[in-house]
Symmetry: C2
Subunit: 256 residues, 2 copies
DNA sequence: CTGCACCCTGACGCCGCGTGAGGGTCAACC
DNA sequence: GGTTGACCCTCACGCGGCGTCAGGGTGCAG
């Protein structure tokens, strides 16, 4: 059976010797056995485990957590691998999103057009964490939610600059109308009767490029609980995020 | 003119207040002005700078370096933005590469096929850093080298599992033949006459899916200087990397 | 004038290693 | 058997990029 010394394994895996020492220290990756000279010797098993570790590390998962995952009883190599595969794919898309963001920024800089920071935000922050939302969405709602989001993103991606701008302006108007009610102290439940909430749902439908049923709308409300979405709405007006999701749910309840 | 307090800017940008404090401390992002209450106030200018910072940070560039880049005299926003755009695109591809790697690993695990760690390596390490090589290649040799590599990768990508395996096995045989000479203490220059080096060049040509001229072969030798390639060859036999590139260059010199 | 939400400035801590220092070990060649 | 040089080991300190209290000021609303 083949064995590897620290340096050989390190070279194979593209990490430093120190890293292997560290992983040994914290119990993340222990040698197959140790010589009486205290040398570390690794085998095939460890090679594989290291691969897993590196894959997880690439996703910025803390080492402690990686250990927990790999050591979980009933840990299924294939399942985890497949999961990470999908995460990595999202990561890839996240970067692709940032590229598009920069492209838009470039266009704007070249055109000397003043920036709408709401749009800048939408470009910068949202796509930056889009993958994160999406895996989160999938965890909570399963695949069909994901499909919807992906389709939505694609629809947005196909738009021209002008169309996108118009889209965003429209969203701002809709949100402003809702915020108005919020500022006037309207209880969120009352907003279920406000045409503004209806307008919001319609905007969502057009962004998704497909109907937004009350069920889907409730799903979206859940999504809005996510910290990064909250930030978006809290920025408009502190407390607005809470208000909005409550209003959305209230509206949906009335429809069912 | 619009101003933002720490929290508002933080929310907009999706970072923590502490982060903004930190950036102020180290002089990376200072407020537009400070109230006499010592409050930090940011303006549009800072919003943009923060965007730049975040883009660079996403590429794991140390903050000090980011500061240096952004503060460089004659710093061209558009140029830097375009550059980062390309880097991000590479990143996206790097992740895509990892996805393919995992796919192959999955296939192998499902098939219960024993792993050849050389192949595992080729799967794991190389693609993991492929984008890195490529940007490095482009820096050193300009676009046509890149085109070649990309085409090569595509050729490999189009192969079936069996074909790829055969390809890798062939490479191993060729390398083994070269390593033989190395172990026997053959001086690398003498290897220019060894048919093994010719076989290596032919393998490269078939991997690239196109001729490998002596000039290209020299270029490849340069590429092999890259740490991660070195690792691959140092793992076969310590000192082999040096030997190989010298041999490659010697061979090419004889052809010209 | 009392809350409450926001702002400030230290200062310490954590993670994932890099980077020595100081010292054994192994294989090869004299 | 001794020397050389490349490997291996164990401490132990440090650093970057913040998170996270602690302790205290500010500003506006009711």
């Amino acid at each position: 059976m083949k064995t590897y010394t620290v340096q050989r394994l390190a070279a194979l895996a593209g990490v430093s010797v120190r890293t292997l020492h560290h992983y040994d220290e914290i119990g993340l990756l222990k040698p197959a056995f140790t010589g009486e000279n205290r040398y570390r010797y690794y085998g095939e098993e460890e090679l594989l485990r290291l691969q897993q570790i590196l894959i997880h590390r690439a996703l910025d998962i803390p080492l402690a957590e990686i250990a927990a995952i790999l050591d979980a009883p009933g840990f299924d190599r294939l399942a985890v691998l497949r999961e990470q595969r999908d995460r990595l794919e999202s990561e890839a898309q996240r970067f692709a999103g940032m590229v598009r963001t920069i492209d838009r920024t470039i266009v704007r800089l070249e055109g000397e057009t003043a920036m709408q920071d709401n749009e800048l935000y939408f470009g910068l922050i949202a796509p930056e964490r889009q993958a994160e939302y999406e895996t989160w969405l999938v965890e909570r709602f399963g695949g069909d939610m994901e499909a919807r989001i992906v389709r939505g993103r694609k629809a947005m991606g196909d738009m021209s600059e002008a169309e996108r701008a118009e889209m965003m302006a429209e969203l701002q108007r809709v949100e402003e109308a809702l915020a108005e009610g919020f500022r006037r102290g309207l209880p969120p439940q009352a907003t279920a009767l406000d045409p503004a909430i209806e307008a919001h749902r319609e905007w969502v439908a057009s962004a998704w490029g497909r109907e937004c049923t009350p069920e889907a709308y409730v799903g979206l409300a859940d999504v809005y609980e996510h910290p990064d979405f909250r930030k978006r709405y809290e920025t408009i007006e502190p407390g607005f995020a809470e208000f909005l999701v409550t209003a959305m749910r209230a509206w949906a309840r009335r429809q069912l």
